[in-house]
């Protein structure tokens, strides 16, 4: 093992009574890919913030490349060779792609207190920018406005911006966040390509990526590093499995994999068929839906029917129109054509508040918790019995359903971990007692254990008769829960069928989902 490039010694950070980073010591060796994993709320983000300089530790030291940078500012650390990427894409959205990357080159080449000479004349900056873009797989995309890139490409640019600073150590904060299977492959390849030339500290929930990339893995739980070791050591570590990997170790442990496949298949066979038939009695009926953002049409004649008590899914790669379909149902993106009826009433021209009050509740992508309201307030602010059920959801029932939330009643929304926020988002939707519950990427960015809890909670809701529409990428789990599936590709319905049919035809997964 070589010398340490980054050495964290006894780092500590408290927020009030909560210890977010509890005496953390950790060393990242020159040239390695060192992954940091752990459940949501373990303190990984807080640790990254302290390493990058965005947050000051209360105690402890950070040594980097022979110097101490505990007190250095963010930009000073970047100059010294410690750059980061963000979990939530942070690019210059309104700038062309090439201008994004050229800025990072500009930052390290000469003074920018130059007021007279046109930047455009500095061809060197842009040439180097183009070369860097090619390195992260964005060749040919230079002139596009960054916000208009596909999500996966934005993630590539995100990492590219950090790479462009020519770091010695690259902190990657969940680079796989929100990526579909193919995009994940591209990102893994991108990180792999830089192996050796740059040291990487990788925070990630995608265990497949972690175990394929990492030379060493550290596991963080409740602010402490409970284990550091080679991937196989971590895999075998009982404490780690109990605290983090849980039953979803399938991605990591081959012997679990078979089981995970078989269970859903068996369930699906038992599941009743439902597909196009029985349109008349559908709770929600979407017919020939067209939608567009400005001049570019995104949805082309989407059909979707969900009956009372069913669980349906929308599947497909990123950027294919799943979220737009949901937005159109909710009246957030106006339908350009087609019809949407909900409980036999046409709603495609209704404003979104009326649609919501008619009994459709959304658990939005990214959770969208109100950060300045407490857990209780988040739940109570929109409570109502919109479906007029005899056993409505109440505060007590939500807390019974999500015991983790009960302990945090008076915490602000922004003081919750990702998993707690997700539970709160679901609880908030349930408090409206909707006829139809829609979940958009509700397991995104969650640790495997927490993800399993969300799946369990969906099964429970289904058993209670809740009608649900789910968007997610974990096809196997969805097959186990849902009745029927709609695959969307480039704004059109590419396939529709039951869980049994989807489970039986693996080629579908390949073709449309990139699994």
């Amino acid at each position: 093992m070589g010398a340490a490039l980054l050495e964290i010694r006894n780092l500590e950070k408290r927020f009030g009574g909560v210890v977010a980073t509890d005496n953390v010591s950790l060393a990242v060796t020159h040239g390695e890919i060192h992954a940091l994993i752990g459940p949501n709320g373990a303190g990984k983000t807080t640790l990254i913030a302290q390493l990058s300089g965005a947050m000051r530790p209360d105690a402890g030291r950070i040594a980097f490349d022979g110097g101490d940078l505990t007190r250095h500012s963010v930009h000073e650390r970047v100059r010294l060779g410690l750059a980061r990427s963000y979990q939530i894409t942070s690019i210059f959205r309104r700038f062309p792609v090439i201008d994004n990357i050229a800025l990072a080159v500009q930052a390290r080449s000469g003074t920018s207190l130059s007021f007279w000479r046109p930047l455009a004349a500095e061809t060197l900056l842009f040439d180097e920018g183009r070369a860097l873009l090619a390195q992260v797989g964005l060749a040919g995309r230079e002139a596009i406005i960054a916000a208009n890139l596909a999500h996966g490409e934005q993630r590539q640019l995100e990492v590219g911006l950090a790479l462009a600073t020519r770091p010695k150590l690259l902190l990657l904060d969940e680079p796989m966040a929100g990526l579909g299977p193919e995009e994940s492959e591209r990102m893994i390849a991108l990180i792999h390509k830089h192996r050796g030339s740059v040291t990487v500290f990788l925070v990630e929930h995608d265990m497949d990526a972690v175990f394929r990339l990492a030379d060493r893995i550290s596991v963080m739980v409740s602010g402490r590093v409970i284990a550091t070791g080679k991937p196989e050591e971590i895999r075998a570590n009982a404490e780690v499995r109990r605290a983090y990997l849980g039953e979803d170790a399938s991605a990591v442990l081959p012997e679990y994999e078979r089981e995970a496949h078989e269970a859903p298949l068996a369930r699906a066979r038992r599941g009743r068929g439902s597909g196009g038939e029985g349109r008349m009695s559908a709770l929600l009926n979407v017919e020939r839906l067209d939608a567009a953002y400005g001049a570019s049409q995104v949805l082309f004649g989407i059909d979707l029917a969900i009956r009372q008590g069913e669980v349906a899914t929308l599947l497909g790669r990123n950027g294919m129109g799943k979220t737009t379909t949901v937005r159109s149902i909710l009246g957030l993106t106006p339908a350009r054509g087609g019809a949407i009826s909900f409980r036999s009433a046409r709603i495609e021209r209704e404003p979104s508040d009326r649609i919501a009050r008619a009994g459709i509740a959304l658990v939005p992508e990214g959770r969208q918790i109100f950060p300045n309201l407490t857990v209780r307030e988040n739940l109570l602010a929109f409570a109502g019995n919109r479906s007029g059920t005899r056993e409505p959801w109440t505060l007590e029932r939500v807390f019974l359903f999500f015991p983790a939330l009960a302990d945090r009643t008076d915490n602000m929304g922004n003081q919750l971990s990702g998993g707690e926020q997700q539970m709160l988002a679901i609880g908030r939707a349930l408090m409206t007692n909707p006829h139809l519950l829609i979940l958009d990427e509700a397991t995104e960015g969650l640790a495997p254990l927490i993800r399993e809890e969300i799946w369990k909670c969906l099964s429970t809701l289904k058993a209670a008769g809740q009608t649900i529409l789910v968007i997610d990428k974990y096809v196997e789990r969805l097959i186990a829960i849902a009745d029927h599936h709609t695959i969307i590709e480039r704004g059109r319905v590419a396939w529709r069928g039951t869980s049994a049919e989807l489970a039986a035809d693996r080629s579908l997964w390949h073709r449309h989902l990139g699994v």
């Binding site: 990058s52 930009h75 210059f92 800025l103 990072a104 046109p118 930047l119």
Partner: protein, 309 residues
């Protein structure tokens, strides 16, 4: 092309006005051009830098009072008082900016407003230099070389020269390395830090440049009116400059200038019909914000659409 045409029109304008014996409009044109400089300087920090300063009038007042006070003390030379006026405004911007830029969002708006109001009250209480009543200037600054700024045409062309110079400076600045940094900080400041830019320093430099340019407008306005008063830095003045920038186009090169032109002309025209001109100006501003959210310049050169949030 448009720039050349506009410049030509501005050069010919006073000659035509004198020809038809409407010399008042030459003076009115000067006022518009001075406010165009002031609004452009605000547009630099507000539009390009994303720093919503609600105290920009303070720097105009500082520049104007340097001219006024020096003249009261017998120093009439433009070569002394004008550079000094600009320098003093820059110094004020340095101090106010150094403190204000440590805050963000609403706090930044409030603290810049507070500083400007503080200066307003300081000058109100300065009885030696007119206090509340302001200070009358005996004459316009002296430039030598046998020229006199009291001549309306000479004065007009001096102001035009400064406007053209300011706008050209702005043009170069925005396209330079520094300009790119400023715009990128507006777009995403945390990321700028994370790729290695000390953003605070760049913002402060930008704030000082804008303050100096506002100081120049102040120097000119003192000469234009032959009068300075604390009203120059009252918060309503800062608000008026903001309205000009919003009307003209936030972050457009000519946004400040177009805004100054449109607002002052509207004011002039409508107030000749009704004493309730502010109501109509308000309605027009409302219409612009609703139907042309990128301002008048945005109607002619819309920014590329960006999807998502």
């Amino acid at each position: 092309m448009l720039t050349v045409a506009a410049l030509a029109a501005l050069i010919v304008f006073p000659l035509v006005m004198r020809g038809i014996d409407q010399i008042f409009y030459v003076s009115f044109g000067c006022r518009i051009m001075i406010y165009a400089i002031a609004a452009s300087s605000l547009n630099l920090i507000l539009g390009y830098g994303g720093m919503i300063s609600f105290g920009h009038a303070a720097f105009i007042g500082a520049g104007a009072y340097v001219v006024g006070i020096l003249m009261a003390e017998g120093v009439t030379s433009a070569w002394v008082s004008w550079p000094l006026g600009v320098a003093v405004s820059a110094l004020f911007a340095l101090v106010i900016g150094a403190i204000s830029l440590r805050t963000r969002g609403v706090y930044f708006i409030m603290i810049t407003l507070a500083f400007a109001q503080m200066m307003y009250y300081i000058f109100v209480s300065m009885k030696a230099y007119g206090g509340d009543d302001g200070l009358n200037l005996a004459t316009r600054s002296a430039v030598g070389f046998g020229a006199s700024l009291k001549d309306d045409l000479t004065w007009y062309y001096v102001v035009l020269l400064f406007l053209a110079g300011s706008l050209y400076l702005l043009h170069r600045l925005i396209r330079s390395r520094f300009g790119r940094v400023i715009e990128a900080i507006r777009e995403n400041e945390p990321r700028m830090e994370a790729i290695g830019f000390p953003t605070y320093g760049y913002k402060l430099v930008c704030f000082v440049i804008a303050g100096a340019m506002a100081g120049l407008a102040g120097v000119l306005i003192a000469n234009q009116n032959s009068f300075v008063s604390p009203n120059l830095m009252f918060w309503v003045q800062s608000g008026t400059l903001m309205i000009m920038v919003i009307m003209g186009g936030v972050g457009y090169h000519y946004g400040g200038a177009i805004g100054a032109l449109v607002l002052l002309v509207l004011e002039e025209v409508i107030s000749s019909y009704t004493i309730f001109w502010q109501l109509w100006v308000g309605l027009i501003l409302l219409a612009i914000v609703l139907f042309a959210p990128q301002g008048i310049c945005g109607l002619f050169a819309p920014r590329p659409t960006v999807k998502g949030h």
